[in-house]
C-alpha cells in the first residue's frame, strides 16, 4: 500500500509526481503530508501567532502591566468604536466611575460624550525591545498628553485596577516560554534515558522502565504541590521561574522517553541499522547519523504533544498559588483572581485569561497530531 499512501499525499499523481516522491527526502515527504492536514496547518499559524507575543509583549501592551490604581478597580472591557460620524476614526468612550449608593461598589458607565481616539504605533511607556533596544512605541495607544494606562482597557481591569489586556500579553510571554523551557529539559532527559534504555536494553532498560512506571503511577499534582511549596518564599521571580520549569519537566519526561525508547527498539533491528553496524560504524555514529535522523520527526511530534501538559501544569500550580507568585505574571497568576465565584459573577472578564490557555492547548494538540501523522510518510 506504500504507493497508494504516497498518492494519498498528492491528489494528482502523474508519473512525474511519482518520480518526485521516490527521490524526495524524508523532510519533503513529511512536509507534503503535513500540508494536507488543514487543521494542523491552521494550528501551526495560531502557535506561531502565540510565539510572536513572546518578543512582542511590550509592543502589544497598552500600558504598564503593574500600574495599579484603586480608582480603576474592576473596570469592564471597553468596546472599540471604529466609525465616528461615518468616517473611520477608531475611538473608545471614557468611563465614568461612581459608587453605588446601596452596595458601595464602584460601577462604571461609558460616557459617549467623551470620545478618546485610538492611535496606532503611538508613544507610550518606555521599554526595551528584546531587552536591548529602548523603545516607547506601542501597537495601540492614545494621543500624546493622555496616559494609556488611565484610558484604554480593552479587556477591563483587575481588582487592583491594572489593565488586563497588557497583563495578558506579559502573562503569555511567561507561560509560553516556561512551557518551551520545560519541554526542552524534558526532551533532554527523555532522549538520554529513553535512548539508553532502548539502545542498550538489558538491566539498564529494566531499571529505567521501572522508574518510568513508578513515576507514571504517582499522582503528579500532589507531588508538584509538595515540590513547589518547598520553594523558599524569598526567591526572586527569576529563581522561582526556573525552579517551576525544572519541577514540571522532572515529571514530564517519561512519555517522551517512552516514545524514544520505542523508536530505538523498532529501529535497532532494521536492516539499515544492522548494516551500518556491520560495516563498522561506531556506536555513536550509528545512533546519531543513522538512527536519530530517521525518528527526528517523531521526536518533534512528541515534543509538540508534550507542550500543552507543561502549559496546563504551570497554570494549575500558579492558580493554586504554589507556582509563580505576583508580581510575576502568567496565565495561572491571572486566573488566580478568578478563583472566587462571587467576584467572577460580577466581573466575568476576569475569566478571559482562560481563553488563551484553551486555544494554545488545542492548537498544540492539533499541530502535534498533524506532525505525528506526517512523521510517518510511508505509513498508513
Amino acid at each position: 500500500m506504500a504507493v497508494a499512501a504516497d498518492a494519498g499525499a498528492l491528489p494528482s499523481t502523474s508519473t512525474a509526481d511519482r518520480q518526485r516522491i521516490f527521490v524526495a527526502s524524508q523532510w519533503q515527504l513529511t512536509w507534503w503530508r503535513f500540508r494536507k492536514h488543514r487543521v494542523a496547518v491552521a494550528s501551526a499559524i495560531v502557535v506561531a501567532g502565540f510565539y510572536l507575543v513572546v518578543p512582542g509583549a511590550d509592543f502589544l501592551a497598552c500600558s504598564d502591566p503593574s500600574a495599579s490604581e484603586a480608582q480603576r478597580s474592576l473596570m469592564p472591557p471597553q468596546l472599540i468604536h471604529w466609525f465616528d460620524e461615518g468616517r473611520l476614526r477608531p475611538h473608545v468612550y471614557g468611563l465614568k466611575g461612581a459608587r453605588d449608593p446601596k452596595t458601595f461598589k464602584r460601577v462604571y458607565q461609558p460616557d459617549p460624550s467623551q470620545k478618546i481616539p485610538i492611535r496606532f504605533f503611538a508613544q507610550g511607556f518606555e521599554y526595551r525591545f528584546l531587552g536591548l533596544f529602548p523603545m516607547s512605541r506601542h501597537l495601540i495607544g492614545v494621543d500624546p498628553g493622555r496616559d494609556a494606562s488611565t484610558t484604554i482597557f480593552l479587556l477591563g481591569t483587575d481588582v487592583q485596577g491594572r489593565d488586563l489586556w497588557s497583563r495578558l500579553m506579559y502573562g503569555t510571554r511567561i507561560s509560553l516560554t516556561i512551557g518551551l523551557l520545560g519541554v526542552t529539559m524534558s526532551l533532554v532527559l527523555g532522549v538520554v534515558l529513553g535512548g539508553l534504555s532502548g539502545f542498550y536494553g538489558g538491566i539498564l532498560d529494566t531499571v529505567i522502565q521501572r522508574i518510568i512506571e513508578i513515576l507514571r503511577s504517582i499522582p503528579t499534582i500532589p507531588l508538584w504541590m509538595g515540590l513547589a511549596a518547598a520553594l523558599p518564599r524569598d526567591w526572586t521571580i527569576l529563581q522561582v521561574y526556573f525552579a517551576i520549569t525544572i519541577i514540571i519537566s522532572l515529571l514530564g519526561w517519561t512519555e517522551l522517553a517512552r516514545v524514544i525508547r520505542g523508536r530505538f527498539l523498532a529501529l535497532r533491528e532494521e536492516d539499515f541499522v544492522v548494516s551500518a553496524r556491520l560495516v563498522g560504524c561506531s556506536r555513536m555514529r550509528t545512533i546519531f547519523v543513522h538512527m536519530v535522523p530517521s525518528f527526528m520527526s517523531h521526536i518533534i511530534a512528541a515534543t509538540t504533544l508534550a507542550l500543552p501538559a507543561m502549559i496546563i501544569s504551570e497554570t494549575a500550580l500558579s492558580f493554586l498559588g504554589l507556582g509563580l507568585r505576583p508580581p510575576a505574571i502568567s496565565w495561572g497568576v491571572l486566573l488566580q483572581q478568578a478563583q472566587n465565584v462571587q467576584t467572577v459573577a460580577i466581573s466575568p472578564w476576569l475569566m478571559l485569561p482562560a481563553v488563551p490557555v484553551i486555544v494554545a492547548v488545542m492548537a498544540f494538540n492539533f499541530l502535534g497530531d498533524g506532525l505525528r501523522d506526517a512523521a510517518d510518510p510511508y505509513g498508513r
Binding site: R216, I218, L335
Partner: protein
C-alpha cells in the same frame, strides 16, 4: 498468571516505598520546619516564642534528629496505624483526614467509572462509523475535553450555575447535611452532588479513552480475523462485539493505570475550586503551613490509593487477555 500478578504486586510494593520516600523528602525540603512557621504565626499575632520554648517544641516533635531517623520513626508509627500528629490541628493525622479520604476515593472512582461508561460506547461508535457526523462530533468534543484544564471547566460551570440558576453547584453535600452523621439521606445527597465533579474530572480522561478506543478498534477492524468472522455469515454487530472490540479492550484496559493518577491529581485541584470536602484543600493548607505529617500522609495515601487502583486494573487486564494468563504457566 500468578507469576504475572505477583510481579505486578511486587512492583506496586516498590512503588509505594518510592512514594513514601518522595512524600517524606518533599516534606523535608522546605527551609525551616513547623516550629519556624509556628513562631512566625505567633509573631504575627503579637506573641513571642522564646528560643527555649522553640527548642522544647522541636524535641517534642522529634524535629532535631537526622532525616533518615525521622523517616524511620514515621514508617514505624505507620506500621502501628499511627500516621503522626498534625501540628496545625493539634489532633492525630488520621482524625484530621477522617472521611475526607473516603470521599476522595468516591469522587475518583465515580469519575473513573463515568470515563468508562462514556468512552466505551462512544469509542466503538466512532470507529465503526468512522468519518460520520457522530464520529466528528465525538472527536471535536473530545478535543475540547482534552484542551480545557479541569479546574477551568469547574470554574466555568460554577460561574454558569451561579449566574444562570443562582445555584452553588460545588460541594458534595447540601449545607444542612454537611456535618451530619451518615444516614441514607446523606448518601442520597452525596449521590445527587456527585455527577458534576465526576463529569468535570472524567472529561479529559473520557476524551483520551475515546481516542484510544477508536484508534485500537480501527486497527483491529482491519485484521484478517474480522474478515474470517464476517465470512462465516455472522451478523455485523456480533462480528464487531465478539472479536475486534474484545481485542481493543485490552490496551484500553491497560490505560486505566494511567488514567487513575491523572484523575486523583485532578481531584485535588478541582476540589479546591468546587469546595469539595476531599483531601485536596487539606493538602494545600498543610503544605503552606508546613504541617509535615499531615501533608506527607496525604501524599502517601493518595499514592497508595492510586497504586492499588493500578494493580486492580492489571488484574482485570489478565482476566480479559488469555495470552497474558498463559504466559507464565
Amino acid at each position: 498468571m500468578l507469576a504475572y500478578i505477583g510481579r505486578r504486586a511486587l512492583l506496586a510494593v516498590f512503588t509505594v516505598w518510592a512514594i513514601s520516600m518522595l512524600a517524606f523528602a518533599i516534606i523535608q525540603l522546605p527551609p525551616g520546619d513547623y516550629v519556624t512557621s509556628y513562631i512566625a504565626q505567633m509573631a504575627s499575632m503579637g506573641s513571642v516564642v522564646t528560643d527555649e520554648e522553640a527548642q522544647n517544641l522541636r524535641i517534642q516533635y522529634g524535629l532535631g534528629q537526622p532525616i533518615y531517623v525521622q523517616y524511620w520513626k514515621w514508617m514505624k508509627q505507620i506500621g502501628d496505624g499511627n500516621f503522626g500528629f498534625s501540628m496545625e490541628w493539634r489532633r492525630p493525622v488520621t482524625e484530621v483526614i477522617g472521611e475526607r479520604l473516603w470521599l476522595t476515593v468516591v469522587v475518583a472512582v465515580s469519575a473513573l467509572l463515568l470515563t468508562w461508561v462514556l468512552a466505551l460506547p462512544i469509542g466503538i461508535y466512532s470507529a465503526v462509523r468512522q468519518y460520520s457526523i457522530g464520529d466528528y462530533t465525538a472527536t471535536f468534543v473530545g478535543f475540547i475535553g482534552l484542551a480545557v484544564p479541569n479546574f477551568l471547566l469547574a470554574l466555568v460551570l460554577l460561574y454558569l450555575g451561579f449566574t444562570m440558576f443562582n445555584a452553588h453547584i460545588g460541594g458534595l453535600f447540601s449545607p444542612e447535611l454537611q456535618d451530619a452523621p451518615w444516614s441514607w439521606a446523606r448518601v442520597w445527597d452525596l449521590l445527587k452532588h456527585l455527577p458534576i465533579p465526576a463529569l468535570i474530572l472524567g472529561l479529559a480522561g473520557t476524551a483520551q479513552q475515546i481516542r484510544i478506543m477508536r484508534a485500537n478498534l480501527l486497527d483491529e477492524l482491519g485484521k484478517p480475523y474480522v474478515v474470517t468472522a464476517r465470512s462465516k455469515g455472522l451478523p455485523e454487530t456480533r462480528v464487531i462485539v465478539k472479536y475486534p472490540v474484545r481485542m481493543a479492550l485490552n490496551p484500553f484496559a491497560s490505560t486505566i493505570g494511567y488514567t487513575l493518577p491523572y484523575i486523583v491529581s485532578g481531584s485535588i485541584i478541582v476540589s479546591l475550586v468546587l469546595g469539595l470536602p476531599t483531601v485536596g484543600p487539606l493538602l494545600l493548607r498543610a503544605l503552606i503551613s508546613q504541617d509535615m505529617f499531615l501533608a506527607g500522609t496525604i501524599v502517601l495515601l493518595l499514592g497508595i490509593m492510586t497504586v492499588i487502583g493500578t494493580l486492580i486494573s492489571d488484574i482485570v487486564l489478565v482476566w480479559i487477555d488469555p495470552r497474558i494468563r498463559l504466559e507464565d504457566t
